[in-house]
């Protein structure tokens, strides 16, 4: 069952087209990632899906409700972490969560209980009465995520949920996202962090210049560009890049103390490397074959991730 459905969504800002006829569906319970460089149109897309911006053309349905025709019903199903969002810094963590509970029409007792549960889950319970302005960035982001979870949302929209966070907070938020998914919540997230999309998402759409250029599971996206298989090799002595330009190698790059040779037939490149080392009196100290990463897919499809 599709819980999010968009058809030919377009958003113009004067003469600039930020989102250009995008259509996709997200199934219930799925973690769906929208990956793209800065300025690709990810935030504009999420703002249209959450009813913050009106589309110039096209439509979006959330849980069967048209976000333009029935915005309140559609929003009632969502929990949202907007990009660069802030909690009310002059309110306590507890009051921020209670405010969200009231805005979603949750009864007094239930919202107090839910707020306490979330503050405990996010390790903020001891500081629940402190104003948010005294919190670190990671703690603020946890409050913001808690605010999004107050209504037991069926769909969570997370716009760059871990942008600029420390490792501990990022890990905690990743764990929570996986847990929501296990519990049946649909998660729609935008990120420019390829690894985040790779480890979290069931499916990923890659977006550039307002258009979706690819949409599939991370593994299927990787397998679609086998030409970027490579061998990473380290020698005891430094070598010239040109010397490693064997037949069948499409390009060679130096990465730190290693050399990366891109080829469609990496199995034929390995003996050549060993032979080269023997001939030149050098030694191979490490050698590893690498499949294409999601980063390779991203770079290839967005022509270097340029904005």
């Amino acid at each position: 069952m599709n819980i999010i459905q968009t058809e030919n969504l377009v958003r113009d800002f004067n003469s600039f087209r930020a989102v250009d006829h995008i259509s996709f569906q997200v199934e219930k319970g799925e973690i769906f990632g929208l990956l793209g460089p800065n300025g690709a149109g990810k935030t504009t897309t999420i703002r249209m899906l959450t009813g913050v911006l009106e589309p110039t053309e096209g439509c979006a349905r959330i849980g069967g409700y048209d976000i333009q025709e029935d915005p309140i019903q559609a929003k009632q199903m969502m929990g949202i972490v907007p990009e660069m969002a802030n909690a009310y810094i002059d309110l306590s963590a507890m009051n921020n969560l209670l405010l969200m509970g009231e805005l979603y029409g949750i009864s007094r007792e239930k919202r107090k209980r839910r707020a306490e549960e979330l503050l405990k889950a996010f390790k903020l319970y001891e500081k629940r009465k402190q104003k948010v302005k005294t919190f670190s960035k990671g703690m603020k982001q946890r409050v913001i995520l808690g605010m999004a979870l107050m209504n037991d949302a069926e769909i969570l929209f997370l716009d760059e949920p871990t942008g600029g966070l420390d490792v501990e907070s990022t890990r905690l938020i990743h764990q929570m996202i996986r847990q929501f998914s296990r519990e049946g919540t649909t998660v729609f997230l935008t990120t420019h962090n390829i690894e985040e999309a790779n480890i979290l998402c069931d499916r990923t759409a890659i977006m550039n210049y307002g258009r979706i250029v690819a949409i599939d599971s991370p593994e299927k996206l990787k397998s679609a560009i086998q030409s970027t298989s490579s061998v990473a090799v380290a020698f005891r002595k430094t070598v010239e890049l040109e010397a490693l330009q064997f037949k069948g190698v499409s390009s060679v790059e130096k990465e730190g103390d290693k050399y990366r040779l891109y080829s469609r037939e990496v199995e034929k490149v390995i003996p050549k490397l060993v032979h080269y080392a023997e001939e030149t009196g050098n030694t191979v100290i490490s050698l590893k074959t690498l499949g294409p990463s999601l980063e390779d897919v991203f770079v290839k499809l967005t022509k270097g991730g340029e904005t």
Partner: protein, 246 residues
């Protein structure tokens, strides 16, 4: 989604505004000080009865207290990135604005009742009348809606809106019969009819002096009419400019 549910959510916005923006020392002091400074500036060495000037003070107090914060909430929350969160919640834009209006109405009534109590002590008279109470409520709604209308330009700089507010609010004080009776204002008198503050000041004057240019209930009705027009216009224009805020 029924109307009552939306009004309850507007109540949550009002509660949030009161906690964050209103009941703070500097805001309360400003709500009392600006009208007091203007009062003393214009009453100093003037041969005008005290009860006449006090009625002007009450009018100014409600006007300044109610319209002090509402204009800056939208730009401030746009800047702090909290406005986007509110808009993405299941609450209509009219209810968000209603919440902002209600918070400032409650604050304005608190300040005005405080000043009226002082007037009762000074004048030693019974000045609290039913039309005056109705006028305080409708006037507060009217001035608060006026404040939200000023905040329509989709900026995230509160200082831009404060400048617009100052440019509009101070001239209004001088055309609204606050410091001079309407019949002494000559041609400006006709200009005063387009200012809602005129009707509120006249209403207070009726309560304190027993004389006024308009019937008290007419003033209440005019204030209610201004409130509806200003609030509706604010909602329509805020909706129109919403996309430009983000």
């Amino acid at each position: 989604m029924n109307l009552l549910e939306q009004l309850k959510r507007a109540g949550a916005i009002a509660k949030k505004d009161l906690m964050i923006y209103y009941f703070r020392g500097p805001v309360i002091i400003q709500g009392l000080l600006i009208p007091a400074f203007l009062f003393f500036s214009f009453s100093f060495k003037r041969d005008v009865p005290l009860d006449f000037l006090l009625s002007g003070l009450v009018g100014m107090s409600l006007f300044f207290a109610v319209s002090a914060i509402t204009p800056v909430i939208a730009p401030w929350e746009t800047r702090m990135k909290t406005f986007e969160r509110l808009v993405s919640c299941p609450i209509s834009l009219w209810a968000i604005i209603m919440g902002d209006v209600v918070a400032s109405v409650l604050f304005g009534m608190f300040i005005t009742i405080f000043i009226l109590a002082a007037c009762v002590v000074i004048l030693g008279a019974q000045i609290i009348t039913l039309p005056l109470l109705a006028g305080i409520v409708t006037g507060a709604f009217c001035f608060s809606s006026f404040g939200t209308l000023i905040s329509v330009p989709p900026t995230d700089q509160p200082s831009d809106i404060m400048l617009i507010a100052t440019l509009i609010k101070f001239p209004l004080i001088f055309i609204s019969g606050v410091f001079a009776p309407l019949h002494d204002m000559g041609a400006v008198r006709f200009l005063s009819y387009i200012s809602p503050l005129t009707y509120f000041t006249d209403l207070v004057r009726h309560a304190m002096l027993g004389e006024s240019s308009f019937s008290p209930w007419v003033s209440v009705l005019v204030l209610a009419g201004f409130a509806v027009v200003l609030y509706s216009t604010a909602v329509i224009w805020h909706r129109k400019n919403l996309g430009k805020r983000f």
